[in-house]
Amino acid sequence: MKRKRMSRRKRSHILYGYLMIAPLAVGLGIFYFYPFFKVFYDSFHVVGAFNKTSWAGISNYAAMFRDRVMWSTLWNTLRYVIVIVPATLALSILIAALLNTGIKGRSVFRVIYFIPAITMSTAISMIWRWIFNGDFGILNFILSKLGIPAVQWLSDPKTAWITISIVAVWMNVGYEMIILLAGMQGISRTYYESASLDGAGRFQQFRKITLPLLTPTIFFVLITTLISTFQIFDVIYMMINSKSLAKEASQSIVLYFYRNAFEYSKKGYASAIAIFLFLIIMLITAFQMKMQNKWVNYDQ
């Protein structure tokens, strides 16, 4: 009797198991797994009118290596990553650490700092574009009061990428700070208590306790920022228009992919760029898996 009931339960698990994952699995299959392979396929083809494809061998990849714009796009993207990731991380650790000192009004600060993280990047870019406006922008006015001559923040190819990096950091800090602060609050108070009995100052406590115990969270934040910054798009798309002198000097990989796919109608070429980006992300992920055990202190 008992045996029969068990097997009925087993059978219903199997039936319902498949039924309950079916909608998700089918949806992911159509809209993610099929596209995944389609990108590889397209990258070896020329996609013409009416999306007819014709075999192109490795010509899209060969074109990519010869494409001067592709190389400058790669360089731009690396430059964004090198500036934005460490700056965001440093600032968000600083703010989280200051908020973790037990000062009054912590929750108010936390809410305010978080506001940019829930604001659409499109709107944020519009505001900053106005603030950074070379002729009428408030920033140049403030700088002129300090005796600094006007900067063409967005139209000068030399400064456009810096301006974009500033905005990106401003957008990211609050989000990361929340995650880091949650990590800091997860560290047991007893560590700090015994450290201060031993006479360790605040800064020493931060260096000797907070930072080492926070490495899993820092590592997580580092990797997610790294991956998202490699895909920077919104801010550049909104702040630099396609007629700007700074267009090429500020263009990122994803933006160049977007333009090839949807503005220049070079879908095969765009697919090759997408695969290039995918390989970069895979490298970061592999690095993450390898380094996780080496650097990160998980025992707590």
Binding site: S12, V111, T119, S121, T122, A123, F136, M238
Partner: protein, 278 residues
């Protein structure tokens, strides 16, 4: 002792100065956006700049509705975000429950395979997704905005973790009472998973409301655009009319700001949770 207390006090003052300048840098742009949206064009571009509008005007807000179908864009964004959030919560939680609690052949292999999506940048899929939507004849329709976003590997992963942390006793009892696995999920486990659902709902809403690239690609007629694509369009068309653009941006961000004001705790904990789980 006095010296030590003094030192602590100056330390606190420095902390406040740093934090308050951070607040100024964070809120300054929003305040400037609001002030600009209340000025007329000539006042906005005066040199040297006027900080406060001499006579605040609301006409820029009305102009946004005159120049672009802003009401429609609002509606499109609300509908597409609502459908995305609801569908993700349903589909992800249902699959997550099956992956966490039911036993069926190939379960773990299928789960790991689906998770592979998380390793691929989202823009990677966009071109074929666009071609599928095009083939379905759905370009420039409301469903185009949300269809690929209904299915989330991330959401399934997040909720599976959550279901795994719930004890199995209740399910066993339900099974003995004759509940089939779907009924157990729907009536017993789903209500228990509420914190996880809230977290995922908030993350999804934040994404759906603010996403730019996908809506920009699929819907190019103004009546079918979301607010993000609409703002991008406005900037292309009226790129020197800053007060009007600021009014449009202001209106586009307000709904989420209000939601955030009401559900601060859930927003912040929802985000913090992803970090701890990660």
């Amino acid at each position: 002792m006095n010296k030590k207390a003094n030192k602590k006090k100056t330390g606190h003052i420095i902390v406040y100065i740093v934090l308050l300048s951070g607040v100024l840098i964070t809120l300054g742009p929003f305040i400037w956006m609001l002030l600009t949206s209340l000025k007329n064009q000539s006042e906005a571009i005066r040199v040297p700049p006027v900080i406060l509008p001499a006579k605040p005007v609301l006409s820029n807000y009305a102009d946004v509705f005159r120049d672009v179908p802003f009401g429609r864009m609002y509606l499109n964004t609300i509908l597409s975000s609502a459908v995305t959030v609801t569908a993700q919560l349903l589909l992800c939680s249902m699959a997550a429950y099956a992956f966490a609690k039911l036993e069926f052949p190939g379960r773990d292999v299928i789960f790991v395979t689906l998770l592979a999506v998380l390793m691929v940048p989202s823009s990677f899929f966009i071109l074929p997704q666009y071609l599928i939507i095009q083939k379905m004849g759905l370009l420039n329709t409301l469903p185009a905005l949300f269809i690929p976003n209904l299915f989330s590997a991330f959401g399934t992963f997040l909720l599976r973790q959550f279901f795994m942390s719930l004890p199995s006793d209740l399910e066993d009892a339900a099974a003995l009472d004759g509940c089939n696995p779907f009924m157990t999920y729907w009536r017993i486990m789903l209500p228990l998973a509420k914190p996880g659902l809230v977290s995922l709902g908030i993350l999804t809403l934040r994404f759906a409301w603010n996403d730019l690239m996908w809506p920009l690609i699929v819907n190019t007629t103004r009546e079918k655009m979301t607010l993000t694509a609409g703002l991008a369009y406005m900037q292309g068309q009226y790129h020197t009319n800053y007060p009007e653009m600021m009014a449009g941006a202001m209106m586009a961000i307000i709904p989420l700001l209000i939601l955030f004001a009401v559900f601060q705790k859930q927003f912040i904990e929802g985000i913090a949770m992803t970090g701890i789980k990660g």
